[in-house]
Each structure stands twice: as structure tokens, then as C-alpha cells.
């Protein structure tokens, strides 16, 4: 079930939220189990057969967590992590490995075409973090219902944010769990509406510009300089609005149920360098990779060489996490290189006592250009398509041809304008939420009727657009 489907918006959410609060009046346990039930229904709508995989994965990891808490055995931890990674490896990377082996070593293994279970990368990572935290003795209260909800909680099950057990489990056990909190419900509705509007009005709209250009590149057709840049900038906006919309909707849904999920985006395209970009883009994944990969590898403790090597390993694996393709590995590698350069530049700047470029606008633009260039490898379906597009983007265009096409520039800029305005001139959803929260606390001074009405208007128009046939999947579902 998709967040932007009518059955989800008009049936699933109202039913789930209402039944949750009704049951909570009688029993918190029943309300919690009700959420587990709805989450499993949510997952099974996609493919009921894989529900068994999710349930067994939850059960096995819960048992392993218990054993690790008791015995703190490294061997057992290695087994638990390997078992989780093994399941991702089988479902997500088997064909990639077979294909790579076939082309490198001329083996003739048959591709298995295993169907990728929805959200496996997300729920497996959450469970890896859980078993590690059990091993480290950081988890005190263990309870199967809470654990099952932590993994399967439908707002974050399929595309994150990647939540840690400790940041959500205490909310399940809190005595206020299930109590109607009108402030949170209102905030949830507004944030959810912002997310839905970003998806329907911005991400899906701009996707129509990006998709044909990448299709052309993948089909081996020649792109012009202008086309390549327009296509890749469009995709930069598409993926940002698509994924951050999903995160906003997840946070909004959580709030409607009185639960707070971690922030996943904080205006990443306003970042003035790549290091900041990674602090504001898919924050919960970066946090996971930092805590469970970068730090165990040694982080920045063993000198610059090890630090850069570790950074590169993390980014390559982070790239591979997104999908079973060399394009994702290259994308991760490019960001690894960017980060190394960025750290290097910082060191030199610190020695000089002043930055190379102090103008924030130029820094934001440069960062955005670098990120956009890297997205080409993330989006293109073939390596040849990505290489061609990237080559066209970095090669100075033939001036005659370029100037002949200059007439298109205002039209292209016009198409990108709404996304650019929202990206760079408006506050992000979290800033809006914080501002609203402050205003809610001062009802004498502020009236929330206008933001509420705007959000309701946006929500209604989105539902109408979806009803009229505008319907698409979220990009991060495939990961």
C-alpha cells in the first residue's frame, strides 16, 4: 500500500488512527497490538507471502537480541549480523553477484530473479542496530510487542526513517501512549499534508521532465549539454521531494498516533559543502553508517589515511545499500571522493586561516552541482547511459549549438522554478513544524486557522489529483 493511494489516505489511516485511540481508552497493550496488526496488514497488501519473511525476521532477531543481552557473545553477534546481512544478500544482491561473476569470470550461473521484499534494507538495518545494542547492553526493557512494532511500524517500515529501538520503544511504554494529544494530531495532519503535497505537486511533476531524458541516455541516444543538465537537475529535485515527502508523511503519521520519529532531512540542498549535505540528507542512514560501520572501522582515530579509507569504504557500501548495481557503487564512490576532497580543503583552509570561497550562495551552488552530477549515476539504469550523460555535462558545449538552444532556457527555468523556490527560499518541514509547535503553545497570540486551512486545502487537492489518476511510487521503495 502506498502513502499516496486513495485506500491508504481515505480508509487505512482513518481506520488505524480511530481504532488506535478507541482501544487505548481500554488498554495500552491492545492499542499497541492494534498498530502491529495494521502495520502487518499494510505490509501484506504488497505481497502476503513476504509477510512470513517479515514476521520470522522479527521473531528470530528478538530471540537473538535476548540471547545477546544475556551472553554478550561476539560469536553470536557475528552470527546475528551475518544472518541479517545474508538475508539482504540473498534477496537483494544474489542476481547482482551472479551477473558480476558471469561477466568477470565467464561463469554461466542462471539469474534467480528473486523478488525483492519491500523495505528489506530498512527493516533489516533497524534489526541489526537492535542486536548490536542488545550486545552492548544498551537495551534495558525488552518486550516482544514493542519490538514487533518498532520493526513493523507502518509509517517507517518501507522507506525509513531508520529508527533505533531506544528512540521509539520508550514512547510505546510511556503512560501517555495512546492518550489523545490534539496538538500532535494537528501537527501530524499538517506535516503529512506538506509531505503529500511535495510528492504530488512537485516530485511527480518534475519526474515527468527527468524520466524521458534519462530514458534517452539509457537508450544510447545523444544528449545535448542543456538536456543533460536539465534532466539531472530535474532528478535532483525529484528525488529530494520524493524522499523527503515520504519522510514528512512518516513523521506526520507518527505524530497522528502520538509518536515522534527521527528527522530524516534538513534542507540538504542548502548545504554549503558535501560534509553538511550528508548531515542533512537521509540523516538516519548516515547515522546508522557512522555508528555501525565508520566507527567500528576506526573512524578518524588512526590517522588521515585510515580516516579517508574508512570514509570511502562507508560511502561505497552506502551506495551499494541503495541497490544491486555498479551505478550505485560508483555514486557512493563519487561521494566518498567528494568527502575526502571536502575534508582536505577544510584542513588547508584551516591552515590558511580563511576559506577558499566565503560566499555562501556560491558554496551552495557548487555543492548542488556536485550532488547533481553524482545523481546521474544513481538514476541512470545503465552504466553507459550514466557515463554518456556525465560526460556531456562536464564537456564544454559546442557554442553554436548551445546558443541556438538558448531560447529554451527561460522555459526550462520556468519548469524548475517551483522546485527551486521551495528548496532554497522556503523553510523545510521540520522548521515549519517547530514554528507551528511554538505558535500552538501561545494560542492567545497566534491563530492557526490559516495554516490549518492551507494544509487541508493541499491535502484535499492531492487526494483529488490522485483520484483523477496521478499516482506513482516513491523512489525509495525500491531500496
Amino acid at each position: 500500500m502506498l502513502f499516496n493511494s486513495l485506500e491508504f489516505l481515505l480508509l487505512f489511516v482513518p481506520l488505524c488512527v480511530c481504532s488506535f485511540y478507541i482501544l487505548a481508552r481500554f488498554s495500552q497493550k491492545a492499542a499497541l497490538l492494534n498498530l502491529v496488526f495494521f502495520s502487518l496488514v499494510f505490509y501484506s497488501v504488497w505481497n502476503p507471502y513476504y509477510l512470513a519473511l517479515l514476521v520470522s525476521s522479527i521473531s528470530v532477531n528478538y530471540i537473538l537480541g535476548g540471547l545477546l543481552q544475556k551472553h554478550q557473545s561476539k560469536l553470536l553477534l557475528a552470527f546475528a549480523v551475518t544472518a541479517n546481512l545474508g538475508s539482504i544478500a540473498y534477496f537483494k544482491y544474489l542476481d547482482f553477484l551472479i551477473g558480476t561473476s558471469n561477466s568477470l569470470f565467464e561463469t554461466e550461473w542462471t539469474l534467480q530473479h528473486v523478488i525483492l521484499p519491500l523495505g528489506i534494507s530498512f527493516f533489516t538495518f533497524q534489526q541489526i542496530s537492535y542486536v548490536i545494542e542488545c550486545y552492548r547492553g544498551e537495551i534495558k526493557d525488552r518486550d516482544f510487542k514493542s519490538y514487533a512494532l518498532f520493526v513493523s511500524f507502518f509509517p517507517q517500515l518501507i522507506a525509513g526513517p531508520i529508527v533505533r529501538f531506544q528512540e521509539i520503544s520508550h514512547q510505546f511504554l510511556d503512560k501517555t501512549f495512546g492518550q489523545v494529544n490534539w496538538t500532535k494530531i494537528l501537527l501530524g495532519l499538517i506535516i503529512f499534508s506538506i509531505g503529500l503535497s511535495k510528492k504530488v505537486f512537485l516530485a511527480d511533476d518534475i519526474a515527468a521532465q527527468a524520466t524521458p531524458i534519462f530514458a534517452k541516455a539509457d537508450a544510447g541516444e545523444t544528449l545535448t549539454f542543456l538536456e543533460a543538465w536539465f534532466g539531472s537537475i530535474s532528478y535532483s529535485f525529484q528525488i529530494y521531494f520524493d524522499f523527503s515527502a515520504y519522510s514528512d508523511m512518516a513523521i506526520g503519521l507518527g505524530l497522528m498516533l502520538g509518536l515522534t520519529l527521527p528527522v530524516n532531512f534538513l534542507s540538504p540542498y542548502k548545504a554549503t559543502n558535501i560534509i553538511d549535505f550528508w548531515r542533512t540528507w537521509h540523516i538516519t542512514l548516515s547515522r546508522f553508517l557512522r555508528d555501525y560501520l565508520y566507527f567500528p572501522l576506526g573512524g578518524n582515530r588512526d590517522g588521515k589515511f585510515r580516516r579517508y579509507t574508512n570514509l570511502m569504504i562507508v560511502m561505497l557500501l552506502g551506495g551499494l545499500w541503495h541497490g544491486a548495481s555498479w551505478n550505485f557503487v560508483i555514486w557512493g564512490g563519487i561521494h566518498g571522493a567528494y568527502l575526502m576532497i571536502n575534508h582536505g580543503v577544510r584542513l588547508v583552509s584551516a591552515k590558511r586561516g580563511k576559506p577558499f570561497i566565503s560566499n555562501a550562495v556560491i558554496n551552495v551552488a557548487l555543492t548542488f552541482i556536485c550532488v547533481t552530477l553524482a545523481w546521474v549515476f544513481f538514476r541512470a539504469e545503465t552504466l553507459d547511459g550514466a557515463l554518456h550523460m556525465a560526460y556531456v555535462m562536464i564537456t564544454p558545449p559546442d557554442w553554436e549549438q548551445f546558443s541556438a538552444k538558448m531560447i529554451l532556457l527561460p522555459k526550462l527555468a520556468y519548469l524548475l522554478l517551483p522546485c527551486a523556490v521551495v528548496t532554497w527560499l522556503m523553510p523545510n518541514s521540520i522548521q515549519i513544524m517547530e514554528a507551528l509547535e511554538k505558535r500552538i503553545q501561545q494560542p492567545e497570540q497566534f491563530n492557526l486557522k490559516i495554516p490549518t486551512a492551507l494544509a487541508a486545502f493541499g491535502f484535499s487537492m492531492c487526494v483529488y489529483f490522485i483520484f483523477a489518476g496521478v499516482y506513482s511510487e516513491f523512489i525509495y521503495f525500491q531500496f
Binding site: I185, L189, Q441, L448, A453, A455, F467, A468
Partner: protein
């Protein structure tokens, strides 16, 4: 209850109230818009009303857009064109079945072609013809919003409506005998756009492996048998296309075998099959685009086809 909570509760109710009001209003307005503005200018609804108005005819023709736009019988004749764009065999078979239950044609012409076995013809969101073409006509009691194709195009219709000055423009005309006619002529030599269109068109009609075992073949065979069982003479036809379209398509392996299979089926069922693909090879002015006849071509071809079927 603190003032903060009371305000939040009030605003939550306001949110839900606005959403409910807006959704109901949008649905009512959309239904009126589809019913009063869109449907009267929509070729499918014109065709639908025409179909239900027909009773006894000399010849009834069925098929997709190539037939719908390419078969323009003489005015006043008792020959009707009951084809509609993009129909698949399942829909055509259903339409013919309902036709034979309640109406009468002395002869039937049925369009066939490889493209009618392409994957996109079997999309889920297709019109259920039992709703539209059955003698009971349940569609008359339903909302127009329930028509998946009208609903799926709703935003485009709104856009058209506002851009065209509060009306839905229609480039084609609907003839008295059911043909959808377009006056435009294909540009010769083909423009860059036409090359692009050809590529897209060929790609969407490429038959996938295993097309021979599609249930559609059975449906086609059963439809032929159904018509024969009513003792109505039948003629199968593949419509003329331009050489600009046919040349690359002839190169495709599955296309050739699809035509062979149609020929074999016609021979087994002992019905004439007329393959007209290259019929107007030297007459580009008869086409509105690479694979559809225009008004002039459609009139010319209708006369030839009726003669050649030899009913």
C-alpha cells in the same frame, strides 16, 4: 482542557471539515463537468450512443482506431462503423456478442492486426464493456466518474477546458455512420516528430515472447465462430498503413508470425482475410499519420473494402 489543547482540537476538526467539504464539492463538480461538458464531446460516448441507436444494418464494422478512423461508408448507406480506438479483442468480442444478442447485421467486417496483441492493450484500467454495451446499459445509472478512462483523464480535461476558453475542443468529427474522421494529412517527407512517433509506436506494439499463447487468440477464434453460428458472413481485414511504418515493422520477427497466425486462423475458420497493409503505399495523402487513414482515405477505402469482401 487547556486553551492550547482546545485550540488544537478545534483546528483538527476544522482540518477534517475542510477536507470533507472540499472532497464532496470536487466530486460533485467533477461529475457535472464530465456529464455535461466532457461526455457530449467525447468520441467514446458518441460511439456508445450511436451503438445503442443502431438496430438492423447491412454491414457492421468492428475494430480499433484504424477501423474507427479509416472506414467511412457513404452517407445514407446501412453500413455502420462500430469501432473505437484502442479496444482490445476482449472488448471487441464482448461488443460483438451484445450486438448479436439484440441487433442484426447482414454482414460483419472485423479488423485484425498484430498490434492488437500488444501488452498495453491488456492494461487493468480498461472500460468494462458489460457496463457500457450490454442491452441493460448499466452505465446510464452510474456516475461518469466511475468510467476509469474519463476519470484518469480528468485533470487533462480540466486543463483543456480552461485553455480552450471553457469548452472541450475536438479535432475530429463524428460521422452519421459512426466513423471518427480527421481531415489532417501526414507530412511528407516525415518530420522529426514523426520519426519519434514511429519509434514509440513500434516499440509499444512489439510483441513479447509467448504472444502466440495469449488467451486473445482463443477469444478471436470464438468470436469468429460466434458470428458464423449466427450465419452472418464475416470478413477479416488488416488496415492500410504507410510504408514509413510498415517497412521497419516487417523486420520484426513476431509481427510476421502474428500475421501468419491470423492467416492460418482465417483459413481454418474458412473466412476471408484481406491484408491491406501496403494497399496505399503510394498514396501518403490518404493518411493522417503513419498508421491511420484520414477522412479522404477512409471514404476511398470503405468503398474498396466493401467490394473486396465480396459479401
Amino acid at each position: 482542557m487547556s486553551k492550547e489543547i482546545a485550540e488544537s482540537k478545534k483546528n483538527t476538526v476544522l482540518f477534517i471539515g475542510i477536507v470533507a467539504f472540499m472532497l464532496i464539492t470536487l466530486i460533485v463538480i467533477s461529475e457535472l463537468f464530465l456529464r455535461l461538458v466532457v461526455a457530449p464531446s467525447d468520441n467514446f460516448y458518441k460511439q456508445l450512443n450511436f451503438y445503442h441507436s443502431v438496430e438492423n444494418v447491412d454491414i457492421a464494422a468492428f475494430g480499433d482506431s484504424r477501423m474507427s478512423q479509416g472506414f467511412y461508408p457513404e452517407d445514407g448507406s446501412r453500413v455502420v462503423n462500430l469501432a473505437y480506438a484502442s479496444e482490445n479483442f476482449e472488448q471487441i468480442a464482448q461488443k460483438i456478442d451484445y450486438f448479436l444478442q439484440t441487433k442484426h447485421a447482414d454482414k460483419i467486417i472485423l479488423q485484425v492486426g498484430h498490434h492488437m496483441f500488444a501488452d498495453y492493450r491488456f492494461d487493468d484500467d480498461r472500460r468494462d464493456y458489460s457496463v457500457f454495451f450490454s442491452p441493460e446499459q448499466p452505465w446510464r445509472k452510474q456516475l461518469h466518474l466511475q468510467d476509469p478512462e474519463l476519470r484518469g483523464q480528468l485533470l487533462n480535461y480540466w486543463q483543456l477546458f480552461f485553455l480552450a476558453g471553457f469548452k472541450i475542443p475536438n479535432q475530429s468529427s463524428f460521422s452519421d455512420n459512426g466513423a471518427v474522421l480527421l481531415d489532417m494529412e501526414m507530412t511528407i517527407p516525415p518530420t522529426e516528430d514523426q520519426f519519434y512517433y514511429r519509434k514509440e509506436r513500434i516499440a509499444e506494439h512489439i510483441l513479447k515472447d509467448g504472444f502466440e499463447s495469449r488467451e486473445t487468440w482463443d477469444i478471436l477464434r470464438k468470436t469468429i465462430q460466434r458470428i458464423k453460428a449466427e450465419n452472418v458472413p464475416l470478413c477479416l481485414v488488416s488496415f492500410p498503413v504507410t510504408a514509413f511504418y510498415s517497412e521497419p515493422v516487417y523486420e520484426l520477427e513476431h509481427t510476421v508470425s502474428a500475421f501468419k497466425k491470423i492467416e492460418e486462423l482465417a483459413a481454418e475458420e474458412k473466412v476471408p482475410y484481406l491484408m491491406y497493409w501496403d494497399y496505399y503505399e503510394d498514396e501518403p495523402t490518404y493518411f493522417r499519420n503513419l498508421d491511420h487513414l484520414n477522412k479522404t482515405g477512409a471514404r476511398e477505402f470503405a468503398n474498396d473494402l466493401i467490394d473486396d469482401c465480396g459479401f
